[in-house]
């Protein structure tokens, strides 16, 4: 019986699939946003007149403080909730925690840890509320989130302008300016009450040494995995090859000098690495599979018994908490933040960065987040001087910064639509090549 059962469908099977080949045109179209940014970065770099070693120094600084928060976007994107304002809310939670930690005068690493601890219930609670609200407007998350974001910002201002410092007095010097209402415009972490560089300052190393150390550790990991048969031999060899080649490259003085100014804040990057592992690991769990299923099609997910609303709330909660921590990493590096603006900015930049890396509104990976972060910030570093050199006006450079961050989100969305249209055009080409 098996034989004729099979024959019924096999005839169709052999005819159905369409051949797939590497199609450069298609590859280009699908990554148009990223490629455009690479080109822009190279052009601006050439015209900026900045030395490579300075650019690298700036870049690593920015990476260490921003990568974490961009990585926090992956889970909600995969769960189909788009790039939403949970990041902003998470940052607000972190800022509230920072304010109180300074008020209590817990400084240094203990201060940072306390703030991180406080952020968890706050951000989780906010995330829970957002999740519930977003569940009420499924499909309109992007626009609904925008409006909710404004509303949340209003509440935040109410809290910082009116409640803190007035109804609830604050005593730490510098938090409230005498004679005015509400919390001061900037909150300074570099005083003896703050925790500037609490994480970055723990352990930092020059770039070349740091890479050697990291490679050594990774090498060990690969070897252990190879012995435990958790990884294929070819794959292990490729990894080792890449690391070896890179290490060799760094032996060349010219290459090493590019990184001469870079000091790697080891703990911060380890934390970022752990978050990458967390994202990958989480997506490989039952819960991760639920995120992906819900992200693709809620009806189907629901029919298979997944509690769609609950999964979405969990995704947002994870994202807000991570974003809160990300904001802490950011402020400990910066040493101060704009009380009333820092959270807005961080949400916008994180969204733009991940889009630049080639993520879509529904698909995102660690690699895309990191790549996007690098390209976005690279452009940020080199665009203003390039603007100045080309047009003789530093204001143009400033203008460029703002333009980039807003423009990128719009451009990425338009280019997504555009690559969709392009895909349609060449039916014959697609079928006959």
């Amino acid at each position: 019986m098996r034989d004729n059962v099979n024959s019924g469908i096999d005839t169709a099977a052999s005819k159905a699939p369409v051949r797939q080949k590497t199609n450069w045109g298609r590859l280009f179209r699908e990554n148009a946003v990223t490629i455009m940014f690479v080109v822009m970065c190279i052009v601006c770099l050439a015209f900026s007149g900045q030395s490579l070693s300075y650019v690298m120094y700036e870049l690593f600084g920015r990476l260490s403080r921003n990568a974490f928060i961009v990585l926090a976007l992956i889970i909600p994107i995969v769960a189909g909730m788009g790039i939403n304002f949970a990041i902003t809310i998470g940052a607000m939670a972190a800022q509230i925690s920072v304010l109180w930690v300074i008020e209590w005068g817990v400084s240094g690493l203990p201060g940072m840890m306390l703030a991180a601890l406080m952020t968890v219930p706050l951000a989780a609670f906010f995330g829970f509320l957002i999740g519930k609200l977003l569940n009420k407007m499924k499909g309109q998350e992007m626009i609904g989130g925008l409006i909710l974001g404004y509303f949340a910002n209003g509440l935040y201002q109410l809290l910082f302008l009116f409640i803190f410092g007035n109804l609830i007095p604050l005593n730490a010097p510098g938090l409230v300016i005498k004679g005015s209402t509400g919390v001061a415009n900037t909150i300074d972490l570099s005083t003896e009450r703050g925790f500037k560089y609490a994480l970055d300052g723990l352990w930092s190393m020059p770039f070349v040494e740091a890479t050697h150390l990291i490679f050594a550790v990774l090498f060990l990991v690969v070897v252990v995995m190879l012995v435990a048969k958790k990884i294929k031999t070819e794959k292990a060899l490729t990894y080792m090859g890449i690391m070896g080649a890179f290490a060799m490259l760094l032996q060349i003085p010219a290459v090493a000098s590019v990184f001469s100014m870079v000091k790697v804040p080891m703990v911060t990057f380890i934390v970022v690495g752990v978050l990458c592992l967390f994202n990958t690991g989480l997506l490989r769990t039952r819960l991760g599979q639920q995120f992906r299923a819900v992200g693709q099609n809620r009806t189907v997910a629901n029919a298979s018994g997944i509690n769609v609303d609950k999964v979405r709330v969990i995704a947002i909660m994870i994202s807000t908490v991570l974003a809160g921590w990300g904001q802490l990493i950011f402020v400990q590096n910066m040493g101060s933040f704009q009380t009333y603006g820092a959270h807005e900015q961080v949400g916008l930049y994180a969204g733009a960065a991940i889009l630049v890396g080639g993520a879509g509104v529904r698909k995102a990976t660690n690699g895309q987040a990191i790549l996007g972060c690098i390209l976005f910030h690279l452009l940020f570093i080199v665009a203003p001087p390039a603007g100045k050199n080309l047009f003789g006006d530093s204001a143009i450079g400033e203008y460029f910064r703002v333009f980039i961050s807003y423009g990128v989100i719009a451009a990425a969305l338009v280019m997504h639509a555009w690559s969709g249209i392009q895909k349609k055009k060449s039916a014959k080409e697609a079928l006959t090549e």
Binding site: I9, G305, A430
Partner: protein, 529 residues
């Protein structure tokens, strides 16, 4: 366990608002039998199954009356998930698969095989790691048992619909402890050979002791597969029959409530082949699963041309390509004028209308009323059904209502009135709304793609008769695409068969079965001789 019936639904009553869609319906299914559930479009079959699965729509609209017994014990099924844990599985009328997931991931969705890890010990099952190896070998087993040789790592996206159906079945079979499986019109999207295979698979499943409820409009399949039959009409139980003691004719009569009529048949005639209505040259269409690879043909004015072929061979791609609903290239002329491909509005403006096979996708605006759906394209494309007050254009509700009521009557759309949301119509009645919308365009040229898929025999006859009437009385040129050869032969003047995306042959409707069979497998009959 020794209850006579695995499932008994007693005196089920369901109202949607004012409307009673099920009243006092009883359904009984024995272990290991195939039980067919029959009824016209809108008779309440899907609704009865929604009750069985505790679907959210049922609870959100006030629940239902009556009781449900599993293995003789009264139960309350609160959600689809609850139904699953109680051993009831469903193969849906609309596909419930995730396109971005592999076959394995779909089969194992929310029932993943996992390994414990340190985190999961702390935070619970949701944190367990997926065991892809174990998952895919389980998927392999399930696929084998439905006779599918497809690779379990293939992504569902772009798979032919027939495959998806079998993947769904494999998923249900893979569930442990399943004792009842519901198939809601599983054969509607399948070719004949796939449908045959499906019936074999169903029989094999039933033999293993799992009961099956089988909803279909194809009565010959019922006679072939079912052990017993329940017939609904207008939400009421008509009768429960044993297969042994009935016939197709009796089933048809019981469903419709009047004497069954034969299929439509028209006088063969010679259509003058002097004026070309549509000329297609070198058409390529990139519609996944239905690619067209270089097809050229002419449609003569005033004829009904049929397009047939097996599923996945490109027959659906042709109308979708000409209408620019999918990426297409080639040269198309309509009544002597060049038609720009890649612009769907141009095709509509040129007087071509299409009834799509994809009701849910491009076919219907599900959250709009029937009347808005009917008038939508005519309003958008031709600017009809609008009243102009100065520069402002307003919807002419009166004219729309009038047209909708006419269409509801002519096509016998079973609904509570022109303002009912089309999403709440039964599957077959949604199809009729699509046809009504195309007709409202008053097209010169009409594509109908699978017009009778999922509609009952009474409605099928009505639709085919309507097509003939449009053709004979209004001189409309029609191209009909269908998987049912019988249907093509009953009303078409010429029938074109495609295979592997290419035109094989154009045959007269009275050509022999053998000629059609050969053409469908890609062999031109005269080559063969």
């Amino acid at each position: 366990m020794s209850a006579e019936y695995v499932l008994e639904m007693r005196n089920i009553t369901k109202n949607y608002g004012e409307n009673t869609v099920l009243s006092d319906v009883t359904l009984q299914v024995r272990p290991g039998e195939i039980h067919a559930l029959l009824g016209e479009n809108g008779a309440g079959k899907s609704t009865l199954m929604n009750v069985l699965f505790g679907m959210p729509v049922i609870h959100a609209t006030g629940g239902f009356g009556g009781e449900v017994l599993l293995d003789g014990e009264a139960t309350h099924i609160t959600s689809p998930h609850d139904a699953m844990t109680k051993g009831i599985g469903m193969v849906h009328q609309e596909f419930m698969l995730l396109p971005g997931f592999t076959v394995t991931e779909n089969i194992k969705l929310n029932r993943e095989v996992t390994r414990r890890n340190p985190v999961s010990r702390l935070l619970g099952r949701n944190m367990e790691t997926l065991d892809m190896g174990a998952m895919s070998s389980a998927a392999r087993k399930a696929l084998d048992s439905v006779g599918m040789s497809i690779d379990e790592y293939t992504r569902v996206e772009g798979m032919p619909v027939g495959y998806m159906q079998f993947v769904e079945i494999a998923r249900e079979i893979d569930k442990t402890g399943i004792k009842l499986l519901v198939f809601d019109e599983p054969t509607a999207v399948l070719t004949e050979s796939e449908a045959q295979q499906l019936i074999r698979v169903m029989k094999a499943i039933a033999e293993s002791g799992i009961a099956i409820i089988f909803i279909t409009h194809r009565l010959d399949e019922v006679m072939e597969a079912a052990d017993s039959i329940t017939i609904l009409r207008d939400g009421k139980l008509v009768t429960r029959l044993d297969k042994e003691k009935t016939s197709i004719v009796e089933l048809a009569e019981q469903m419709i409530g009047r004497k069954g009529e034969a299929m439509v048949s028209v006088e063969p005639r010679a259509v003058p082949q002097d004026e070309v209505a549509l000329s297609v040259r070198d058409l390529y269409v990139n519609m996944s699963g239905e690619e067209v690879r270089g097809v050229s043909f002419d449609v003569f004015k005033g004829e009904i041309l049929g397009i047939g072929g097996l599923a996945g061979q490109g027959k659906l791609g042709i109308p979708n390509g000409v209408m620019s609903l999918y990426a297409s290239s080639g040269e198309v002329e309509i009544f002597g004028e060049t038609l720009q491909l890649g612009n769907a509005a141009a095709a509509l403006k040129a007087g071509i209308a299409m009834v799509s096979e994809d009701r849910k996708g491009v076919g219907l605006l599900l959250d709009q009323s029937i009347e808005d759906n009917i008038a939508f394209t005519a309003m958008q494309v031709k600017g009809e059904y609008l009243t102009k007050i100065g520069p402002i254009k307003l919807k002419n509700s009166g004219a729309i209502r009038h047209q909708a009521e006419r269409m509801i009557k002519e096509l016998d759309i079973r609904c509570f009135g022109p303002t009912q949301h089309s999403g709440t119509l039964s599957g077959g009645n949604q199809q009729k709304v699509c046809i009504a919308r195309a007709l409202t365009m008053k097209p010169r040229f009409l594509f109908v793609s699978e017009p009778t898929r999922g509609i009952d025999i009474g409605a099928k006859k009505l639709v085919l008769e309507t097509l003939v009437k449009l053709n004979r009385e209004m001189g409309m040129t029609i191209v009909m695409v269908s998987s049912e050869l019988q249907e093509l032969r009953s009303i078409c003047d010429r029938i074109m068969i495609v295979s592997e995306g290419k035109l094989v042959d154009i045959l007269p409707p009275d050509a022999s079965d053998a000629d059609f069979g050969l053409a469908m497998s890609g062999i031109k009959p005269d080559e063969h001789k």
